[in-house]
Symmetry: C2
Subunit: 490 residues, 2 copies
C-alpha cells in the first residue's frame, strides 16, 4: 500500500493526490472536473456534516432546500455578484434529447429554454427571490436557514476536494431586522466554524476578515477561518459573509418594522464545503498515509486477530468480540477484521494507510496472558496493555490522539509564522520558508495586487482583535497600523 | 388558518395543493417545475432520511457520492434505459456566460461543450461506468452503495412533491457476484421500504412486482410498494430493481470468479424520493390540516400556556418547562410556545393545522389542581390528565396515535379493495369507487394498455405470494391464474 507512495518532502502535491486516491477517499470521474466521493471518504464527510448540522441547530437554524437551477436574469440583479459568479458556470439551454435520422441521440433544438438556467454556484439569488414572499413584517424575522447541497463552478484546473467543478457544501442564508443582528450572526457562525475546525478536525485556524479584494462577490464584509497546511500553504476553510442590504435591495425584500416603516432586510450567508476534506488530509497525514482525528474517523478502533489456525481464530474471536462490545458501549466505533482472505501484516498496513486512530492486535499469547497490543496511528507507538478495563484506556487514548493532533498542528503553525519588516525578508519568507507571514501593509488593493503579482502571496486575513502596531508597508513603505497575514494559498 | 381551506370531499386535488403550501411544507419556485422545500417540510424529510439511512446501514450499505452530470453518450449504452430517461432532461451545453456589447449577460458561444452533459435523472450509467474500475475480482464484491442526491426529470405537468422537475431521493446501486445474491438484495431492500412505510409513515403498502410495461427502463424485474391515498388513487412509494447483467454488459464490468473465470457482474438499484412526502400528506391528513405520525413529526408535543397576565405566564412557564424536560428525557421532541405575539386560540389552530400529534394546554386552574389538558390530533379528542407521570402518559399516547393512524389507513385500504370478475364491475369499481381493484388479467401488455386507454387504470402490482386462482381476464376473457391489482394512480 505505502510502498509506491510518494513522500511529502519529495513532492507534496503528488503525495496529496496519491493519498486521496489510494486511501479510497475520492477519485476523478468520467465528467471533467467532477469527483466521485468513495464510501470511506464520504463516511468522513458524513461525520463532518453531523457535527456541523448539530451546531447549526443548536444555534437556532433550520434546514431547507432551494432549486438547483437559477434563471440567468437573477444573477444580473446584484451587480458585483454577477461579476464573481455568473461567468464560469454550467448553463442549461435545452430540456430534451431526441433520436436523429441516423439513430443518434442529439439535442432537440425545438426544446430550447426561453431563458437559460444556471446550475447554482451559490444560492443567494434564488433564496432572496424566495424570501421576498416569506417576509412581510418584523414578526417574520429572523429567518435562520441552512441548505446542504451540491453546487457547480466551472473551474479549469481542478484537484480532488480542493477545487472541483461540482462540490458538496452547506450554505446558510439568514435574514434580519437590523444590521447589528446580522453582524452578530455573521460572527456567531464564524465562531461555529472555528470551533468545528479546532475541536473536530483538530486544525487550528486564524479568524479574521478578508480584504476588499478577497471579499465574496456581493458582500459588505467577509469573515474567514484560515488554516495552515504542512507544506506551508494556507487554506481558506470557511467563510461567513455580512451581506448588508445588497441582496434585499436587488430582490426588493422589505419588511414592516415595529414602528410601521418599510425597510430593507439585512442578510448574511456562510458556508463550508468538501474542501474541508482536503484540509483534513493535508493538515495531519504523513508518509505512511492518512492520519485522522478520532472524532471524524469512520472507524475509530480496529481489532486484528493474529492466528495460525481456525481453532485459534475461534478462541481469539470470542475475546475480540467481548472487547469490541465493551468499547462500543462507550460510543466508539470498532471494526473487528476477522477476514481470512488477508494476512495480519496486510491488514496492519491497510488500517495504517487509512488512518484508523487505534489498532488493537490480539494473538494466542495475549489470550494466555490477558494482554492486548495497542498501536497509535498518530505517533506510531506500540504498547502492550492489560485487557482489563481496556475500554476506558481506549477512550482515554482516543482523546489523547485528538488533542495531540491539534497540538502538533498548532506547534507547526507557531513554528511557521514569521514576522517580517521589509521587502527582502518578506520575499525570503514567502519563497523559502512558507507559512503565515505577518507584515505591515498600506491598506490599498493596488499594493495587495502588486505583492501577489511578484510573489503569488495574498493577504489571507486581517485577524480579529489584531493588535495595533505602527509600522511601514513592506512594499510601499507607507504607514500602517497593523500587521496582516500573508501566505501562498490553495 | 383552516378557514379558507378546501375540504377533501369538495376537491381533493386542491385540498392537497393548499395543504402543502399553507402548512409550510413546500412551494413552487421561480424555476418552472422546481420546488422550494420549506423548513417545516424539510424537517419531516430529514426524519425520513435518518430512519431510512439507519436501515440502509444496518443492512450493510455505505453512502457515496457520484457526479451530478452524465455525458450524453453514457445514456446510449443501455438500449432500453435511453428510451426511458434520456428524453425529457436538463441538458448542459455551455460552461460560460459573458457580457455582450450591450452590457447584457449572454451565453458565451465559444464555451460550448464538446459533448453535452445531462443533469442526472438517475445514476445507473455514471455509477456503472465507475464500478468498472472498482471491480476486478470476486473479492471486490458485493458493492453495497447508496447515494442521497438531487435528480432532474423534465416533467411537463408538475405537482409539489408528487411530480417535480427536480426532486431529492436516495438511490442504492449494488453489485454482486451471483444472480441469486442480487435478487436477494432486491427483495431485501423492498422489505426495508415496506417496513419504513408501515412503521414510520404509518402507511400500509402492497409489495409486489411490476408488469413488463411498468418496469424501470433497463431492469429485468421491478419490485414496488404501492400505497392507497384517501381519494382512492394508488401511489407508488418505492421501487427496487433487479437489473440482471444489463448495466454490467453496457459498461463492460466483469470480475474474476473464485473459479478464475471472467463473468459479468449482477446489479440492483432501488430508490425512494421526496414523493414520500406527498404520500404522507395524502394518507393521513384531514379537513383541519396535516396529520403527522409521531415518528416523523418534527414537533411531537406542543405545550401552550393559557394566561391573563405576565404573572400567570411566569408561574405557568415554571411548570411547563418542568413538564417539557420530563417529556424530552423520553427522547420526545417538545415545543413550549410562550410567544406573547399570538393568542392561545391562534396557536391551537396553528399546531392543529401543522399536524402536531399532541397538544398540551396549561392554565392557572391546572396549576391549582395539578392537571393538564391533552388533545390528540388524530382523533381530535381532548381530555384532562393529572400532571403526575405525564411523560409516561405522553409516550403512551404517541404510540397509540402512531398505531391508530396505521390501523385507520389499513381499514381504509381494506374497505377500498374490490374483487371484480367482469368488465362492467371493473369499470364501475374504477370509475365510481376508486381503490385497489383485484381482477384477472391475461398477462399481455396489449390488454394492459387497452384497459389503461379505456379507464386510465393501470396494473399497480402483481402482489408477492399472490394466491393462485383460475379465472378469466376481465377484458379479453382469456384464461388467467391470478388476480392483479388495478387502480388509477398518481
Amino acid at each position: 500500500m505505502a510502498k509506491d507512495f510518494t513522500k511529502r518532502a519529495d513532492n507534496y502535491s503528488q503525495w496529496y493526490n496519491e493519498l486521496v486516491i489510494k486511501a479510497d477517499l475520492a477519485e476523478n470521474s468520467a465528467v471533467r472536473g467532477c469527483m466521485v466521493i468513495k464510501p470511506y471518504g464520504y463516511a468522513i464527510w458524513e461525520k463532518m456534516q453531523a457535527a456541523l448540522d448539530k451546531m447549526f441547530k443548536e444555534t437556532g437554524h433550520q434546514n431547507a432546500y432551494f432549486p438547483l437551477f437559477i434563471p440567468k436574469s437573477f444573477f444580473t440583479k446584484e451587480a458585483s455578484h454577477v461579476e464573481g459568479f455568473a461567468k464560469e458556470c454550467a448553463v442549461v439551454t435545452h430540456y430534451r434529447l431526441k433520436t436523429d435520422e441516423n439513430g443518434k441521440i442529439v439535442v432537440d433544438e425545438t426544446a430550447k429554454l426561453e431563458e437559460e438556467l444556471i446550475v447554482r454556484p451559490t444560492s443567494e439569488t434564488i433564496i432572496w427571490d424566495t424570501y421576498r414572499n416569506w417576509i412581510q413584517s418584523y414578526r417574520d424575522l429572523p429567518i435562520l436557514v441552512n441548505q446542504w447541497a451540491n453546487v457547480v463552478r466551472w473551474e479549469m484546473r481542478t484537484r480532488l476536494f480542493l477545487r472541483t467543478a461540482e462540490f458538496l457544501w452547506q450554505e446558510g442564508h439568514t435574514a434580519h431586522a437590523t444590521q447589528d443582528e446580522a453582524l452578530e450572526e455573521t460572527r456567531k457562525m464564524l465562531d461555529v466554524y472555528a470551533t468545528f475546525a479546532e475541536n473536530f478536525m483538530a486544525v487550528p485556524v486564524l479568524k479574521g476578515v478578508k480584504t476588499a479584494n478577497e471579499r465574496f462577490a456581493g458582500a459588505i464584509e467577509t469573515f474567514c477561518i484560515e488554516a495552515l497546511m504542512q507544506d506551508g500553504k494556507a487554506l481558506q476553510a470557511g467563510t461567513s459573509h455580512f451581506l448588508g442590504q445588497n441582496f434585499a435591495k436587488a430582490f426588493d425584500v422589505k419588511f414592516l418594522t415595529k414602528e410601521n416603516k418599510q425597510e430593507y432586510v439585512w442578510a448574511t450567508s456562510w458556508g463550508v464545503s468538501t474542501r474541508l476534506m482536503g484540509a483534513l488530509v493535508m493538515a495531519h497525514s504523513d508518509d505512511n498515509g492518512l492520519v485522522l482525528p478520532p472524532k471524524l474517523a469512520p472507524i475509530q478502533v480496529v481489532i486484528v486477530p493474529i492466528y495460525k489456525n481456525d481453532e485459534q481464530l475461534a478462541q481469539i474471536s470470542l475475546k475480540a468480540e467481548e472487547i469490541k462490545k465493551a468499547i462500543e458501549a462507550k460510543g466508539i466505533s470498532v471494526k473487528y477484521d476477522n477476514r481470512d482472505t488477508y494476512k495480519p501484516g496486510w491488514k496492519f498496513a491497510e488500517y495504517e494507510f487509512k488512518g484508523v486512530p487505534l489498532r488493537l492486535a490480539l494473538g494466542p499469547r495475549d489470550l494466555e496472558e490477558g494482554t492486548i497490543e495497542v498501536a497509535r496511528r498518530d505517533t506510531m507507538e506500540k504498547a502492550i496493555y492489560q485487557q482489563i478495563d481496556i475500554e476506558n484506556k481506549v477512550e482515554h487514548l482516543l482523546e489523547s490522539i485528538q488533542n495531540n493532533l491539534y497540538q502538533k498542528a498548532l506547534n507547526f503553525r507557531d513554528m511557521s509564522t514569521y514576522k517580517v519588516d521589509n521587502w527582502d525578508e518578506f520575499k525570503d519568507a514567502i519563497e523559502n520558508k512558507g507559512g503565515f507571514v505577518l507584515a505591515h501593509w498600506d491598506g490599498t488593493t493596488e499594493t495587495e495586487l502588486k505583492i501577489k503579482e511578484e510573489t503569488k502571496a495574498t493577504i489571507r486575513t486581517i485577524p480579529l482583535n489584531n493588535p495595533k502596531e505602527n509600522g511601514k508597508c513592506i512594499f510601499s513603505g507607507k504607514p500602517s497600523t497593523q500587521r496582516v497575514v500573508f501566505a501562498k494559498s490553495y
